[in-house]
C-alpha cells in the first residue's frame, strides 16, 4: 500500500468496534463476511460444522454477499473454488480432518497454481484411533504442500487473522493460498469476548481486489492454465524448476508480507499480534518452552507462576508455521540454554512432535549446541493444563544439568 494511505492510517484512531460474545467458528465467519469474498464453497465436518453454518446464515440473512456452493464433498469444494479463483473471485472455505484429506488432490494443485484461496482449518486430530476432537495432526500432515499456515491463540485472533489472510494471500509478492488454523473445540466452540471491526475500516484495509491478474480462465486473455510440464529437456532452461523456485520465493516473501499486514492491522484496528513468533517473558530467560495455538494460554499462566517461584523461564510461541520462521526463531534461541517443545500432534517418522522435528533443523543453524526435548500432548481433545506445563518447565530446566531424553514425553499418558 502507498505511504500516503499508511500515514493516514497512522493518524486515525481505531473507530469504536462492536463488542460481542462469540465462539471461534462464529468469529471466523464474521471475519470472512467482513473480507467480502465473492464465492464460498462449504461442506460441514466436526469441529468446523458451525463455522459453515454461520457463513450460510450470514449469506441467507443478506449480511454477506457471496455465492455459496453446497458441494457434495470436500474434493468438489476446493475444485469449485479453484475455478472461481481463476475467474477472478475472492474465495473461501473451511475444513479439517477427513475433509482436508478428501480435498488433498486440489489442495496440492492450489499452491502450484498460485491461487490466493483462504481456508480455515479447524484443527482436528487424525481420525484413527477414531476421534472428532481437537489436535493438530490434520494441518501438520499437509505442512509440506506450499500453503501458508498460521495458527491462532485466541478467538479475537481468529477473527482478525481470517481477514488478514486474504490480504496476505492476494499480495503480489505472495500469491499463495493461506490456512488459518484454529484449534478444534478450544477455539471453535469456546465462547469469548471479541471486538468486531467496522466494515468501512476493513474495506479500506483490504484495498482493491485483484485476484486473477496472473492466471485466469478468461476468453479475453487466452492462456493455457497449468499445461503438462517436464522437468528438463524442453526449449530453454527447465520450466518446472523455474516455477518451483518461484513458489519458494513466494513462501519466503510471505514472511515479510505477514509482518507488514500485521503492522498495518495494529495501526488501523488497535490490536497487535506477533506475526511470526511471539516471545513471552523471554528477557533474562535461561531456558524456554515452545507452543503452538490455543494451548499457549495455559502455558503463559504456567510461565507466570514459574517466574513467581524464581525460575528464569520464558515462552516462545509460533504463529506462522509455514513458512517456518527460521530467522525469528534463531533470534529467540540465541537467548537461551535449553528448549522444550510442546506439540499437539505426532511425527511418526522421527518419533517426536513435528514442530520439534523442524525446530531441530533451526537448532542446527544456531552455531552452538543447546539441549532440547519433545513433548506431545493435547491429542484427541485432551487438555494441556497449567499442571502439565509445569511438568514441561521442570523437565526442560533439567536439560541444563542432565542428559536429554531421546524419547518424547507424552503429557497425557497417565490421564
Amino acid at each position: 500500500m502507498t505511504t500516503a494511505t499508511l500515514e493516514a492510517a497512522q493518524q486515525t484512531k481505531p473507530a469504536k468496534q462492536k463488542v460481542m460474545l462469540v465462539e471461534g467458528n462464529e468469529a471466523a465467519a464474521l471475519g470472512v463476511a467482513l473480507a467480502r469474498p465473492d464465492m464460498v464453497a462449504v461442506y460441514p465436518i466436526t469441529p468446523q460444522s458451525s463455522l459453515v453454518e454461520h457463513v450460510a446464515k450470514l449469506i441467507a440473512d443478506g449480511k454477506m454477499d457471496a455465492d455459496i456452493v453446497d458441494a457434495e464433498g470436500e474434493h468438489s469444494v476446493l475444485s469449485v473454488l479453484q475455478g472461481g479463483a481463476l475467474a477472478g473471485a475472492r474465495t473461501y472455505t473451511a475444513t479439517c480432518g477427513p475433509g482436508l484429506a478428501f480435498m488433498f488432490e486440489p489442495y496440492f494443485r492450489t499452491s502450484g497454481m498460485r491461487l490466493p484461496i483462504v481456508m480455515s482449518i479447524v484443527t482436528r486430530d487424525g481420525i484413527t484411533p477414531q476421534s472428532v476432537w481437537g489436535g493438530h495432526q490434520d494441518a501438520m500432515t499437509v505442512r509440506e504442500v506450499g500453503w501458508v499456515q498460521v495458527y491462532c491463540e485466541t478467538v479475537q485472533e481468529v477473527l482478525d487473522t481470517t481477514i488478514m489472510a486474504f490480504k496476505i494471500a492476494e499480495h503480489h509478492d505472495v500469491m499463495l493460498p493461506v490456512n488459518v488454523c484454529l484449534d478444534g473445540n478450544y477455539l471453535s466452540y469456546g465462547t469469548s469476548r471479541v471486538e468486531l471491526p467496522n466494515q468501512e475500516d476493513v474495506d479500506a484495509f483490504m484495498g482493491v481486489k485483484d485476484v486473477n491478474w496472473h492466471v485466469a480462465l478468461d476468453p479475453l486473455r487466452p492462456m493455457a492454465v497449468d499445461p503438462l510440464t517436464g522437468g528438463s529437456g524442453g526449449k530453454g532452461p527447465s520450466t518446472f524448476v523455474r516455477y518451483r523456485k518461484g513458489q519458494c520465493r513466494g513462501m519466503q516473501n510471505s514472511l515479510r508480507v505477514i509482518e507488514e499486514v500485521h503492522a498495518e492491522w495494529a495501526q488501523r484496528f488497535g490490536r497487535s499480534f506477533a506475526p511470526l513468533v511471539e516471545e513471552y517473558r523471554m528477557d533474562g530467560a535461561d531456558y524456554a518452552i515452545m507452543t503452538l495455538g490455543s494451548m499457549t494460554g495455559a502455558a503463559k499462566d504456567a510461565i507466570d507462576e514459574a517466574r513467581d517461584a524464581g525460575k528464569n523461564v520464558g515462552l516462545i510461541k509460533i504463529k506462522t508455521f509455514s513458512p517456518f520462521p527460521v530467522e525469528a526463531l534463531l533470534k529467540s534461541f540465541a537467548k537461551i540454554q535449553a528448549l522444550g517443545v510442546v506439540d499437539r500432534s505426532v511425527g511418526f517418522r522421527w518419533n517426536c512432535g513435528p514442530m520439534y522435528q523442524e525446530t531441530m533443523g533451526v537448532l542446527y543453524r544456531l552455531g552452538r549446541h543447546i539441549p532440547s526435548m519433545s513433548f506431545i500432548g493435547g491429542l484427541a481433545g485432551a487438555d494441556i493444563t497449567v499442571g502439565h506445563f509445569h511438568r514441561v518447565i521442570e523437565a526442560t530446566e533439567q536439560l541444563m544439568s542432565g542428559p536429554a531424553p531421546t524419547e518424547p514425553v507424552w503429557l497425557n499418558e497417565k490421564d
Binding site: L187, S294, T296, G297, A298, K300, D383, V386
Partner: protein
C-alpha cells in the same frame, strides 16, 4: 455432560477444562447419585442445585460452604411444560453467588435471539429462578 465457564476482570488465557471449580451448578436433581459432581471443588466452594428436597436431604461434600437450592424442574414444568432448567439455574446462580446481577442477565436475554413467547418465558424463568432459590451457608466445625 459438563461445560465450563471462567469469569474474571483480567484477561483469561487458559482455555482448558476446569478441574478445581469455585462453584458447581447442577441442573439435574438425580445426577449426584451416579457421578461424583464434587470432584475437585475448592474448599469453601458453592453448589447451586436443582432440587425440590430440603437442605438436610441434599448430599454435600466437605468442601461445600454455600448452597443454593431451587426446585428448577418443578418451575420449568410450570413455565415451559418441559423439564428444561437452564435459564432457571442461571437465575439461581445469580442469587446464590452474586457474580452476575439479575438485571444483567435479563439485558443479555433481551439481546439474544429469543422473541415473543420464548423471550417472555425465559425472562420469567430468570426471575423465578432468582427469587425462588434459598441460599444456605454451611457451618463447619473444625476439629480442635
Amino acid at each position: 455432560m459438563v461445560s465450563f465457564l471462567r469469569c474474571s476482570d483480567r484477561e483469561i488465557r487458559q482455555l482448558t477444562n476446569i478441574y478445581t471449580p469455585d462453584c458447581l451448578i447442577c441442573v439435574d436433581p438425580t445426577l449426584a447419585r451416579s457421578v461424583d459432581i464434587f470432584s475437585g471443588l475448592k474448599p469453601g466452594g458453592t453448589l447451586v442445585q436443582a432440587t425440590n428436597k430440603p437442605l438436610a436431604e441434599v448430599a454435600l461434600s466437605p468442601n461445600v460452604a454455600t448452597v443454593g437450592l431451587c426446585d428448577a424442574i418443578g418451575i420449568a414444568l410450570d413455565i415451559f411444560r418441559k423439564p428444561i432448567t437452564n435459564t432457571l439455574m442461571l437465575g439461581a446462580f445469580a442469587r446464590t453467588t452474586g457474580v452476575v446481577s439479575l438485571e444483567a442477565l435479563k439485558r443479555s436475554l433481551e439481546d439474544s435471539d429469543f422473541r415473543d413467547a420464548g423471550l417472555k418465558q425465559n425472562l420469567l424463568a430468570l426471575e423465578r429462578g432468582y427469587h425462588e432459590t434459598t441460599v444456605h451457608t454451611i457451618e463447619r466445625r473444625v476439629a480442635a
